[in-house]
């Protein structure tokens, strides 16, 4: 499934985040994959995704510099591809 920033996403229920000084470790207990989230802002964004109607709205609310949006969107797409993030309509 192609990542769509106009859609609402949330963390998969089988994913655990462990805060670290560099950001967080993210482990998926279902597929047993491990990801490093290398920016605290990304961790905040990921944790807030389910509070917004779209990823773009979450970007706005998180106050991320628009010049960094491409990198953050790429990061979220990568997490979605690994099943760490799921679209809200699928997760329900």
């Amino acid at each position: 499934m192609t990542f769509d920033s106009a859609v609402a996403y949330r963390l998969h229920e089988r994913v655990a985040l462990r805060p670290e000084p560099f950001g967080a470790l993210a482990y998926h207990y279902g597929n047993r994959r491990l990801n490093f989230l290398r920016a605290p802002e990304l961790v905040t964004l990921v944790e807030s995704l389910d509070q917004h109607d779209s990823v773009r709205a979450a970007f706005d609310a998180a106050g991320i510099d628009p010049s960094r949006w491409p990198s953050f969107e790429k990061a979220l797409a990568s997490l979605a591809a690994s099943d760490f993030l799921v679209p809200e309509e699928v997760a329900a």
Binding site: R32, R33, L34, N35, F36, L37, R38, A39, L42, S67, R68, P70, S71, F72, K74, A75, S78, L79, S82
Partner: protein, 39 residues
Amino acid sequence: MEPTELIDETETEAAEAEELVEEELLVEEISIDGMCGVY
């Protein structure tokens, strides 16, 4: 260095910095295959 050369160098550095910002790696997947039982 001439002032115009300084300006050119600064603009080049800014462009490179912008390019770096666009390419920052925010998510890194770590392979833990075969690490069962490793402490």
